[in-house]
Amino acid sequence: MASRRRMLLKVIILGDSGVGKTSLMNQYVNRKFSNQYKATIGADFLTKEVQFEDRLFTLQIWDTAGQERFQSLGVAFYRGADCCVLVYDVNVMKSFDNLNNWREEFLIQASPSDPENFPFVVLGNKIDVDGGNSRVVSEKKAKAWCTSKGNIPYFETSAKEGFNVEAAFQCIAKNALKNEPEEEIYLPDTIDVAGGGRQQRSSGCEC
């Protein structure tokens, strides 16, 4: 047993299809990039162990499918997330506009206890494309949106070049950790026999 408790952080990656969610994850976990687009079906799951401030924790990354037809899986997927990563393509305005929908959908479906302070991270991906010439969402605009939603940390990344990916996930881990609830003492009840101790005995065989 490790002297310090290990932690598992569930991280959900959301965003329109084709913005590079899987590529970001692949770059982060496997340090690989492929130009070929392969739509995620349902979800992909990756784990990565991370050492952070002397503490070992495991990122359980849920790379979801961006297509709308998979949205019905939402509740099951979002439940119990520690951090949500919103990804958009800086070259596609629509993907940026949709961030708001993704965020709201997540908050509705996951219904975290403190939605105001739920840790999000926004990533503007594909900044490498065309040397930045095809870019349609400015960094300023993106940052403004993030600030308006309660100072969401913002990173500009390139999954292809691996630019800023590590830093972004570092921040994701840090944010997820910050939200860790304080430990409660686990204290179940004790049986009260005086109050008519329950007798739940069945005849033994479950047939």
Partner: protein, 708 residues
């Protein structure tokens, strides 16, 4: 930021993986074949000095297998080569017919990376999965069975001693080839997909796999699953040809999953998941649900810290302890007076505010007493005993240590804790006093001292130890000749032991292996008492591997006999369907009956199984298929009739309500059977046979010859 390990799984991954051998499952499912050469395997066990430790003054050594001595059968006698895929490790054995063991160190190397993997490892054929390191890991899969160096003369009880509980293969994750080849996985995870427990591999490293499972389960829960035969359950199978059934159990925010290629029936696997869930409740109670309500992110793993051993030993019990599927417990054979003495002092204590007082010897009950109206479910006893026996801390530091621990009895009240005072009286015998008061330690301590004094004074402890040494009931000791004899059954069950030569008579009646008339093994379960009697294992079912196979066959019978909508009493015979290759040998044996050599060396044992269920009891038995059919039936019939009449007679006498009386009744019965073991056959004959009308018919001769 440093990264140590990465792994990836995909929700759609299982479908495109698993090149599997389609035919094997069929072969395995129906068969029970017991191989006589298993003791060769035991000989291959290597002695590993690292594992010796001195526990409670007794030397317990853990024997491990030599590297490379992995069990893989060489194909022989008409088996198709693909069945011998090296990665099938143990499971192949269960389909074996005509096999020879051999040291396998080179077989792995020659074996082509054929698509016959029974693992759902997709990369098997294409990657470097056949590398030596993978092989080394795989063979350890066998550790979860007990290996005892002495070879033949091992019974189930001593088998379980040599098995050391604890997590295995912690270094594995779902990317490991070896992990994927493990034949039976158990997982516990939260409804958010966070891992809680995994039988193999590190829970955290399996986070991705755990997420996959959660996604699949939520899919099933949402009703996307077609063909679910049970509400909330999915009869899903993964892998090519659907050879790996996946069994889910959803318990509020906690999901349990079993992925197995052991061909155990669905109901059996589901029952095992229920027990694992029960074991978790025993440690934590159902209050964990509240934690998830408050915080869906809740990570339960730390709450279960240090309990790996408890779960691994429970999972181990699935393959050796019939209590796990019979939902019944078993008693240590003791004379009526001895058990009565133990029961009396426990009752005394129970009257002073103890909810349950239990005296046990390993997993067998010596005596058990509950406060008024409180009764203990056999499953709770199983889980409690498993918890105590597997946790080393309960038996630490000589015999003087006493422990006080909160525990929950899931069948009694899953919501709340009780407190258990546990004290070992000797290496195997321990006393458990359960109370509802968290500050009753000193009271319970006093109770225990009182109990201990009485037990010592009345020689109960020495009787218990003697019974342990004697071992349980052996089929060889069963009476074979039903002819009436002089003698009278006293109410106190013949304290006078008559040295009759029962074993000698058995030999006359049947020259084959096993007990009288080829009876190899039996389990008798009394439904009223929630108790069972099981014979100890003896030749030819010597190795733990064979025992496991037999238990699985019983389990299968149990499941098929307990299917819904079936008649309350019935009989069923089964015979291995891998019969063809054996027929020749059998004919040969029949032609030359004196050629026992042949039997010993080439005969492949295929058991004939019997299951007989009435409203009062269930009987499971395994026979030598070459046994004389008439006499084997006779033996069983005599035995069952006698014990049944004993049981029913005594129960009408006590009115049959309190568990204490049941235990006494059972002790009477067991004592009687034990007396038979000493050759005291006359005792049972003098009892007029009057079993219940509905059960007497089933024993009639006309039902017997069905499928021998």
């Amino acid at each position: 930021m440093a990264s140590d390990s990465n792994s990836s799984t995909s929700i759609d991954a299982p479908a495109d993986q698993n090149p599997n051998s389609p035919d094997m499952a069929e072969d395995r499912l129906k068969s029970l074949s017991l191989n006589d050469f298993d003791n060769v395997v035991d000989d291959e066990v290597a002695y590993n000095p690292e594992f010796i430790e001195v526990l409670n003054g007794s030397l317990i050594a853990n024997y491990d297998r030599r590297d490379g001595s992995e069990i893989v059968e060489e194909t022989q006698s008409g088996q198709t080569p693909h069945e011998a895929g090296p990665e099938v490790v143990e499971e192949v054995l269960e389909s074996s017919s005509g096999v020879v063991w051999r040291d396998n160190s080179e077989l792995e190397g020659d074996a082509p990376p054929s698509p016959s993997s029974s693992g759902y490892a997709g990369e098997r054929g294409s990657s470097s999965g056949t590398s030596a390191s993978g092989i080394e890991e795989v063979h350890e899969d066998e550790i979860d069975q007990a290996f005892v160096p002495q070879g033949d003369t091992v019974d189930a009880a001593s088998d379980s001693v040599s098995w050391v509980p604890g997590k295995r293969h912690n270094d594995e994750d779902d990317a490991s080839i070896s992990w994927r080849k493990r034949k039976k996985h158990f997982f516990m995870l939260s409804h958010s997909g966070k891992p809680i427990y995994s039988r193999y591999g590190d829970e955290y490293k399996l986070a991705g796999f755990s997420a996959t499972l959660q996604a699949i389960i939520s899919f099933v829960e949402n009703g996307y699953c077609v063909g679910a035969s049970y509400p909330g359950q999915c009869d899903m199978r993964i892998g090519v040809q659907g050879t790996w059934p996946v069994v889910f159990l959803v318990k509020g925010p906690i999901y349990l999953v079993c992925i197995s290629c052991t061909e155990e029936p669905y109901e059996a696997l589901r029952g095992q998941l229920e027990l694992i869930y029960g074991q978790m409740l025993l440690i934590l109670t159902k209050s964990v649900n509240r934690c998830f309500e408050k915080n869906p992110k809740f990570d339960m793993t730390p709450l279960l810290g240090g309990t790996d051993v408890v779960f691994s030993s429970l999972i181990h019990a699935f393959s050796w302890n019939p209590a796990t599927f019979l939902h019944a417990y078993t008693c240590l054979p003791l004379s009526y007076l001895t058990r009565q003495a133990a029961g009396a002092i426990l009752q005394d204590v129970a009257d002073s505010g103890v909810l349950f007082a239990i005296l046990m010897c390993k997993h067998k009950v010596v005596s058990l007493v509950g406060a008024q109206k409180a009764s203990l479910h056999p499953d709770d006893m199983l889980l409690l005993a498993n918890f105590v026996l597997s946790s080393e801390s309960f038996r630490q530091v000589k015999m003087t240590s006493e422990s006080f621990s909160p525990i929950c009895l899931p069948r009694y009240n899953p919501m709340a804790f009780l407190y258990a005072y546990v004290h070992y009286l000797d290496v195997d015998t321990y006393i458990m006093l359960l109370t509802t008061s968290s500050d009753a330690f000193y009271h319970l301590k006093d109770c225990r001292i009182r109990i201990e004094m009485v037990l010592l004074k009345s020689n109960v402890l020495s009787e218990v130890q003697r019974s342990m040494l004697d071992g349980g009931l052996h089929v060889e000791d069963l009476p074979v000749d039903p002819s009436p004899r002089s003698g009278y059954l006293s109410p106190h069950l013949g304290q006078d032991k008559l040295a009759t030569d029962s074993s000698g008579r058995c030999k006359e009646a049947y020259l084959g292996t096993g007990g009288p008339a080829g009876l190899w093994h039996f389990i008798y379960r009394s439904i009223y008492l929630d108790q069972y009697i099981s014979s100890e294992f003896s030749s030819p079912i010597n190795s733990s591997r064979q025992q496991k196979r037999l238990y699985r066959a019983y389990q299968k019978l149990y499941a098929s006999m307990h299917e819904r909508g079936t008649a309350p009493h019935k009989t069923q015979f089964r015979r291995d369907e891998n019969y063809a290759p054996i027929t020749l040998i059998e004919n040969f044996v029949l032609m030359f009956p004196k050629l026992d050599l042949l039997r010993n060396f080439y005969y492949v044992y295929v058991a004939v199984l019997l299951c007989w269920i009435t409203q009062d009891f269930e009987l499971y038995a395994a026979f030598d298929p070459l046994a004389d059919k008439h006499s084997s039936w006779q033996v069983l019939q005599n035995w069952a009739n006698a014990s049944l009449s004993l049981l029913t007679e005594y129960m009408t006498e006590v009115g049959g309500s309190s568990l204490k009386d049941f235990v006494l009744a059972f002790s009477l019965l067991f004592n009687q059977i034990h007396q038979w073991g000493r050759g005291d056959i006359h005792a049972c004959q003098s009892v007029p046979f009057h079993c219940h009308p509905h059960s007497s018919g089933t024993w009639a001769q006309d039902t017997y010859p069905c499928s021998f």
